[in-house]
Amino acid sequence: MSAPYAERIHDIAVNTFEITCYMFPLEEWELEEGDELSRPDGSMRSIVRFDGAADGAMVISPSGELLEAIAENMLGSDETDRELREGALCEIANIICGNTVPLFARNENICYIRPPRIAEPDENTDELFSKMNKESLDVLLDEGIAEITIYYSEQEEG
């Protein structure tokens, strides 16, 4: 892969949040003094596995306020429950991962993504994918922060 994954995944994530949730990206410098966004605490994470041209997984963890805003904006309603918030997060993870995996495909090989799921509270993904490469990035949005981690092992060429 020529460009760093993190940068390209960031662009895909920003595009997904803009189109699907009407949210817009922020740069660190755009935050006013005292205008702190809370960090994701990992209490709600969606995992999407993929295999084929590359094996791996994407984990998306939003801050509390972002999680709520994702569901509300997608549905156009401020009456969302936990189930809807989980579903909305999984769908966002599905879209970001689906648009990311072609980055790993060599020689037109196909990456297949598996249905997203919510991680168990005590699920240690670093341990689960310990033999894989790992990259993490933050996506700063006007409604909160999303932390995205991708684990991957690329196939040998040839």
Binding site: N15, T16, I19, T20, A71, M74, L75, G76, E83, L84, G87, A88, C90, E91, N94, I95, C97, G98, N99, V101, P102, A105, E108, I110, C111, I113, R114, P115
Partner: protein, 124 residues
Amino acid sequence: MRQNILIVEDCSVMRLIIMRTLNLSEIEVGEIYQAENSREGLELLRENKVDLIIVDINMPVMDGAEMLEVLKTDLETKYIPVLTITTESNDKRIELISSMSSNVLHKPFTPEILKREILKLMVN
């Protein structure tokens, strides 16, 4: 004439978005049937008359690509318009999915784009 629509999508949020889009469109919507995977979708098709199928590709139990194959080999279903929604970006896979669908819509999309694609299929 009212149109019966089958939505095959494992994500309840996406099903709600599709239903909201349908209800806000100019289409005279009759029954909206919902299935969480292709197997359930095929069962609903056996029991009900449907004018449009909206199907996701990435689903558990039986995915959308398998459903498209079944639809296209069955005389009862092969002429029903199918709008496939997917995150798939591989050219070969898109080509395959397109050959079995009336139209393919790539995620992410806005409700406006979804509405436009549904209307296109209903008018045709």
